[in-house]
Symmetry: C2
Subunit: 492 residues, 2 copies
């Protein structure tokens, strides 16, 4: 008789591009989200949590001819026929929520949202297919005061999560100014206009000279390939370059430069006026150029937004994986997008907002040494006598009631060395030992594991004798003495 074929064991792996987060990675993110929510709340923003799943229709991805609309999103078809997908950001769900509930929501509606989003993209180093976003948006206000408020709030938020003033800058640009610039250029057609927009997008990478080349005849790129240019004459390209490089040493100078760059374009003038309003409102509240600056060289998002565009950048240097210093770069971005809800209702609803890349912010704080990489572990009560588990449980209960993180060893207690190894792996500051002798004398042994590790590493024999890392205390003094040790370590 043939043996029944054995079912192979499933592989215990995260799907490609996903990862697990342990301990401090989780709690630090939770704390950061809490700090951000605190600022958002103080600014009058209300929490909104939509589900991770939306209809593909509401997300704005349209079914292609192929089997599944899975370009960039994770999508599947319901049995009854609806296509569903995981949200890829928090803005598309906001548009759907606002259109659906607009009669019950205040106008303007200030809301914040935080949670995971999913992208069906090729994962790379440090790039995951699930990550956190943390957004705040004001829907239903066309006032530049809404934009200024978002910038001020972003500045307050960065400081609240531990980025000191001077270590970040928020740059503000405006799509209308760019539109004005494009108007003055008298471009031949939409194709040429789009080519110019694509070129501007590369300003971050290729700089002023590169942009000039790409707007003109073309450019030899770093890999040696020749990139065809847009084919504009040098003077026709000039307004774009003037726009991108119009940042001056004061806001007034920058705005003057921008006014020149947009020439007689009404749209352009409106854009410069919007930037002026934002700058004035922020100045009145004391947000100077050390925190928020009008900077036309910000190009990220200019293709997407319809008015002001914001970007928060960390200005300190970090060391990259190859040991080279580099700027940390962008941690948040946003802007005004006045056609948010139009897809659903046909009505234009002005909106402006920001999205903070929480995981990047956490990475920045970690690289600057501003977040502990590991939490302090719990006090471990060891098990010397497995029949007296109730005694050990009472000890941890006492410690916990005193607010001290504590646990009893729950593995096989036979080998005491394993219990100390466990305490080590748990990064425990203190171990408690109560054998039969201690029990009989009404005492416990307290082992200061942090001091013990220090002594083991550095101390001479004399010091070793003078500073015992293990000592006996009365059972009734256990909690008090443990607390002393813990507060000592927190201070050092």
């Amino acid at each position: 008789m043939a043996k029944p074929k054995k079912q192979p064991r499933p592989k215990a792996v995260t799907p490609k591009g996903f990862r697990d987060y342990f301990g401090a990675e989780v709690t630090q993110r939770t704390e950061m989200l809490r700090a951000i929510a605190g600022v958002y709340h103080r600014y009058g923003f209300d929490a909104l949590e939509s589900s991770g799943v939306e209809t593909v229709e509401a997300l704005g991805k349209f079914l292609p001819d192929v089997d599944r609309p899975n370009e960039g999103v994770f999508a599947w078809q319901e049995d009854e026929g609806d296509w569903l997908a995981l949200r890829y950001d928090l803005t598309a769900p906001l548009a759907r929520v606002y259109a659906q509930h607009r009669n019950d929501l205040p106008t303007p509606y200030r809301r914040y949202a935080m949670g995971p989003v999913w992208r069906n993209e090729k994962p790379g180093p440090g790039r995951y297919r699930q990550f956190y976003q943390c957004d705040a948006d004001t829907v239903g206000s066309a006032s530049m005061a809404a934009d200024a408020e978002i910038c001020a709030m972003l500045s307050d938020t960065l400081e609240a999560v531990g980025i000191p003033r001077g270590d970040y800058v928020i740059r503000v640009n405006n799509r209308k100014v760019l539109n004005g610039v494009l108007e003055t250029m008298g471009l031949a057609d939409t194709a040429q206009r789009d080519a110019v927009l694509r070129t501007i997008d590369k300003f971050d990478k290729v700089g002023e000279t590169g942009v000039r080349e790409l707007l003109g005849k073309g450019r030899l790129d770093a890999s040696g390939a020749y990139i065809d240019g847009v084919g504009l004459a040098a003077e026709q390209a000039e307004p774009v370059v003037a726009f991108l490089t119009s940042g001056g040493s004061s806001t007034a100078e920058t705005l003057d430069n921008l006014r020149r760059a947009v020439g007689s374009s009404e749209t352009g003038a409106r854009g410069v006026d919007e930037l002026q309003q934002i700058a004035d409102l922020l100045a009145a509240q004391g947000y100077g150029r050390d925190r928020i600056v009008i900077d036309p060289s910000v190009v990220r998002g200019l293709g997407y937004y319809t008015g002001p565009v914001y970007e928060a950048e960390l200005t300190f240097e970090i060391t990259d994986e190859k040991g080279r210093p580099r700027q940390f770069g962008s941690v948040a971005g946003g802007g005004r997008y006045d056609d948010l809800v139009k897809r659903f209702t046909g009505q234009e609803v002005p909106a402006t907002g920001i999205s903070i890349g929480v995981d990047r912010l956490l990475a920045a704080l970690r690289e600057k040494g501003r977040l502990r990489t590991a939490e302090q572990g719990p006090v471990v009560v060891t098990v010397m006598d497995r029949d007296r588990m109730a005694d050990y449980q009472s000890m941890v209960a006492e410690l916990r009631q005193a607010g001290i993180r504590a646990e009893v060893y729950l593995g096989n207690p036979k080998n005491f060395g394993n219990q100390l190894k466990y305490a080590d792996r748990r990064a425990s500051p203190v171990a408690i030992i109560e054998g039969a002798d201690e029990k009989a004398s009404g005492v416990v042994q307290i082992k200061d594991l942090i001091l013990g590790a220090e002594i083991a590493e550095n101390a001479t024999l004399e010091e070793w004798k003078e500073r015992p890392s293990q000592f006996e205390v009365k059972r009734g003094d256990m909690v008090v003495r443990v607390r002393e040790i813990l507060s000592g370590h927190q201070q050092s």
Copy 2:
């Protein structure tokens, strides 16, 4: 020429069985999760956050012949062929994580996890296809001390989130005791055994008499349909009934009853012994029967778990949607499942844990009036003169710097009535008014909206005059006076 067909507008709707959460619904859940995490952390449990997406293989759903393995889960196929799915609980991901990372994790591994899970099930009233779970599990310990600890922690957790002692009870049962009972019955075959298990599952609904009938000849159910019975003789069914009804007026009595019910079965004796150990450990820590009770009538989960089973129930009555009083019921459940990791590694790894239904707990607190249903809104600074937006922004900035939630009205300021309607919709406690006259005299008007609403509802004309809900203060006193009003309302 035919008109191009107009693209229909997308519908702004949540997918069937999903919903949006607004304001206090979100922040109260966040605060509850924080309170729970605080207790879990103090007990030495470490945070774990895995992604919402797992391979179907790791989740343990096997591909059927049909197109998609979508029985109960949301699943889709990757372009390269892997089937992925949204997690349906937090236990299956724990098994995968432990198998994948076991060499880097402490043994035993205490972990907690909280977050949304997804079920591809038919939605019903109050039943959604995305909901939160909040789990704590100890992996790698076979000791009953681990189970006792989970029960104690669950008790502490319920009290920490605002369920007072007396309003809940945690019931503990044991699958091994049931196995012992089944052994003593000498059942004919597996089919009969399974039929008995299914019957026990109905004990909650049909009670002792119902179970007797269903184990015997059968039973006429409420709808008038006749349900066939298992066909046991009355005395053969007796051990099951004895098991289910063996709860006594003391733990000792209950355990004695159980010892009798399992007769000579070794498995059964082991199960009773486990319950005894748990009861002793809990008693030693002061957790009495008012909090945690050995109760063999708990049948939920008995089919799934392999040892102790726990269930937390709220014991107070609420009024259901039809106005009838009923018990609120279960808010958490768990137990021991010793084959958690075996699917992946072939090794048996003992594990025990609990899952708290956070949304049900929140609903319970709301129904008992222990959670405010709406948050207090922000102070609203109205806009009397749209050219002085900078002044109004400075006011909100001052209020926020004093820790007061505040916002400026960002809608069209032309109609002042709309601004007050907005403040009302925002549940604002206070509105600030500064027109040109006030500005010239260096004052602002403060409108106490809560007092105003009270007066409008109840006051006589005399009281109205005596207690003005709107008054003038010096601009420099604005923050102090607003704070006075807010703290007055908090006290009342």
